[in-house]
Symmetry: D2
Subunit: 305 residues, 4 copies
């Protein structure tokens, strides 16, 4: 039993109504800094493996009263301070950002993983942060859970998972327990292929539905949810052991493994050479099916085989 991560709540108290690190008032920034310093101290004391910066209100309600650039500069200063402070006390945990597009704000700066990457790279923070991906936040941003995992993993920035689900027909964070084995299996495949979660883990950031008032409901929810994740993990392992999907995808891109395809990847060719190649030799490409229906059927043989 270990502490997965520590964090500080910079969104519930009215002092943070206009954000913590992005608050227009330097006083609130200072207060937030003090609070996060303390939270890092406590996280270190408890042996926490990660520290999550969840930007619950780091965004804006209206651009009419907002200096977007200055707020982002302040957020960057804040994150640099966090990294510097952690180093100064020898905290070795991984820093995590948890993207969320909105709610309660109209717009958060870490809208999704891509926005987070843009921010981190702009301010030279990309070496110090990974992402804590929440399923329901992914879908509110217009992406699948698996998409956000893949984007983070493609940058070696997949850190941890806030395990829940939302309702795609609803526009707010429902934070439900997730029993959708299909969605979880796809996510597990991408997590395993991406090298796993490192020091991260699965945090059941999920709430019972309001009418679920029995004591046993809390147990049933966690049990059913863990069963779904466990089954998804088993199915993902079987899928990867069989290798059918991976082989299909590898074959699909195989023209880049040799010849001019490989030269493209090695950046040995330019537009001029490719132009001549097409005109003199290649001509019109022959189309190949994407086989989406075949792959969807194949997936069902694992899910309901």
């Amino acid at each position: 039993m270990k502490l997965l991560w520590g964090t500080a709540n910079l969104f519930s108290n009215p002092r943070y109504m206009c954000g913590g690190a992005t608050n227009p008032d330097a006083h609130v920034f200072a207060y937030a800094a003090a609070q996060v310093k303390k939270a890092i101290d406590v996280t270190q004391l408890l042996g926490g493996e990660n520290y999550v910066l969840s930007g619950g209100r780091e965004g804006y309600e209206t651009l009419l009263n907002t200096n977007l650039k200055r707020e982002q500069d302040h957020l960057a200063a804040f994150l640099h301070m966090a990294v510097d402070y952690a180093r100064s006390i020898d905290f070795k945990g991984q820093f995590l950002i948890e993207p969320k597009p909105k709610e309660p704000t109209k717009h958060q700066y870490d809208f999704d993983v891509a926005s987070g990457i843009a921010f981190l790279r702009t301010y030279g923070l990309e070496k110090h942060f990974k992402f804590n991906i929440e399923t329901n936040h992914a879908t509110l941003a217009g992406h699948t859970f698996q998409h956000e995992i893949e984007v983070a993993a493609s940058q070696k920035m997949l850190g941890s998972i806030d395990a829940n689900t939302g309702d795609l027909l609803l526009g707010w964070d429902t934070d439900q327990f997730n029993t959708d084995v299909k969605e979880l299996t796809l996510a597990m495949v991408s997590i395993i292929k991406g090298g796993g979660l490192g020091t991260g883990g699965f945090n059941f950031d999920a709430k019972l539905r309001r009418p679920s008032i029995d004591a046993e409901d809390l147990f049933l929810a966690h049990i059913g949810d863990m069963d779904a994740y466990a089954l998804a993990f088993k199915l993902a392992r079987r899928i990867l052991a069989d290798g059918k999907f991976e082989q299909f995808v590898a074959d699909r891109y195989s023209s880049f493994n040799s010849g001019y395809g490989n030269d493209i990847e090695q950046r040995k060719l330019g537009f001029r050479e490719l132009y001549n190649l097409v005109l003199t030799k290649l001509g019109e490409p022959k189309l190949r099916s994407g086989k989406q229906e075949y792959l969807e059927n194949l997936l069902n043989t694992y899910l309901h085989g």
Copy 2:
């Protein structure tokens, strides 16, 4: 009369059904490269001021058959080739990326400006590209038009505008002529504050509604649209000349102009110093209203004064 930009259509022909630069087949990549080379040649010949890379199908239909990382690597190679080729022929135009979240693909890699920045910075391309922002693409990605302008401008990457609108109750690109003076005025304020469009401009990438079949409809649409942009420009100039909004925003952040606020911006302070400052001197912040309703009323005095 000058050519605003050139571009190539890498999305309509079936050969691009799985993308151009991100196609899994190196042959299609080569074909797309040849086509863009030619389009850059023609753009230079015609004295075009910009070249737009519109990624109409640079994304995926399903992650089941997709190597997201490899596709993004290929896209980066493609853009580097474009930059290198332009340099080799002494094309001085500005390269532009036009973010679009989806349609016809399920998911495009340049989902929004932030995704574009993440991509460009990841692959060392940020010096060579700016953004061509389309109103309807902004809203399909879950952002306002003004938001995308502000994000691009905050990075000095605001390039050009594809001037149209969508319908926020519909989930596809309607590309309508935009007569919403309120939305356009807010956009114009951000464009002017952001330093203008440089070599960019406004391209009326808008279509008549299907039942608008009279010859005069095309004229009426352009006239009404230009009137709306012109009025918005005049209103934005008046708003900025009066300076009420700018003054309000400047005041709102003024605590960062001196004292410990300025030290935060200068990164002279860290968490430790701010922690002590809060505990020994600052204490609990005093809340200040964000005045959203006041500012919305103020805006109406310009729009309907």
Copy 3:
């Protein structure tokens, strides 16, 4: 100064977590009935002109535990009881239903005006109820404010207005003060054309933004909002006095005013006669432009003339 309407809150107290009139427990139904009886008594005592049945939780969280038909039957019984009770105490006020698609429930039975009409007509309640239309509820259901007004007015069931706005890029009820003169002008046109609100009125069911904490913000919000509605009313009156839109629409349908068009409206013709008419005389129709861009331009001459 008069009381516009009375209502009862059947959604905040945990006893209503699964609805009031649609609760699976007859005990809660009885409790809700007692509460609404009392609220009608008080409304009558205060001379209220309407009574609103706002179905805040009259819907479901999941179909897995729901008997949709039985819940709707219960709701109908509840509304019949309300009507019967009102008659028994000689309450003359108008009963109103306030459609809302969701939130906090996953799905409400009075999703929109059309759902409300379907329900009322199914259970023989259509003579006793009109609609209280809330702007933000309209847009959450995928309709414009004006659409919901038109649908209600087309059935002579337009009762009252809950005056606020939402944010079309957000998926929850923000209940903001509405300063969008364009949206309000279109709504006012439809309200006036629909014969007005009868005993209804405009209820500012709007909340300050969370950071609007100054005492004056409440005043500013109401003043700006009332100004916007007043301006919209003036513009709508001018639009209707000029009659350009009405004339355009009347002309557009004028082929139904005489000849076979009028016979269609009078139901004097059937498929057989029309089939012969097309084959022998009419042939292929000549297309006419819908002139959407012209009309949008025309609207702007009123909004920004």
Copy 4:
């Protein structure tokens, strides 16, 4: 092998750009009438069991040029003519309406099943029509597939199914082949409980993805899809044979089976009696859990048991 249904395309040809039965031009109405007459003739000739009126453009692009009431009156006249004509030629097939909220129009009059019911009951057509429910249309309207089935079944108006799926993160009709066994199982449970489809059936109104260009893709898609529906049917039968969900739901509403609960359903009690009952005997209700998480877990034992 029999013909499930006939229909006419009143949306692709430009003459229908502003609708068929709701076109502002009586000439187009007449043309549409002639076309549907012919289609009914052919359907009868081929022994079709149903006739579908799919309102692909029966709606509006903008309210600025639309008389919503008059268009709905015309649509009602059209449907009455269809019913009268069918009777006159002794066509015994079932008439079906296929709700769709939008696309290509901004707004269709048969937005969803509830809108359809409102329309049919308003114009006295409810005895002659049932619904052809399409999964992708349900979700575009903000409802689940199962919800639309339940609403139609609750009125004995469930007619037929257009079997496909959409992508809940996309805002247009993708018409994909549906392999989501979970969604289909829930739908099958509701269809069977609702008494089945009568003369209706499952029509695979689904399209291959654009890159699925192999001849075998069409077979694979239909095979995988049929397998998914067949499995869902088997699972639904097992679920209903076990009766656990039905028993749970029956128990949940059991307080309405006797005593004052039954009197409520029989409408033997009114507000006055219930008020006295609550005050003198019942008091505050005791809350009961909705057990959503338990039921979701139970469902997974069938899907992945």
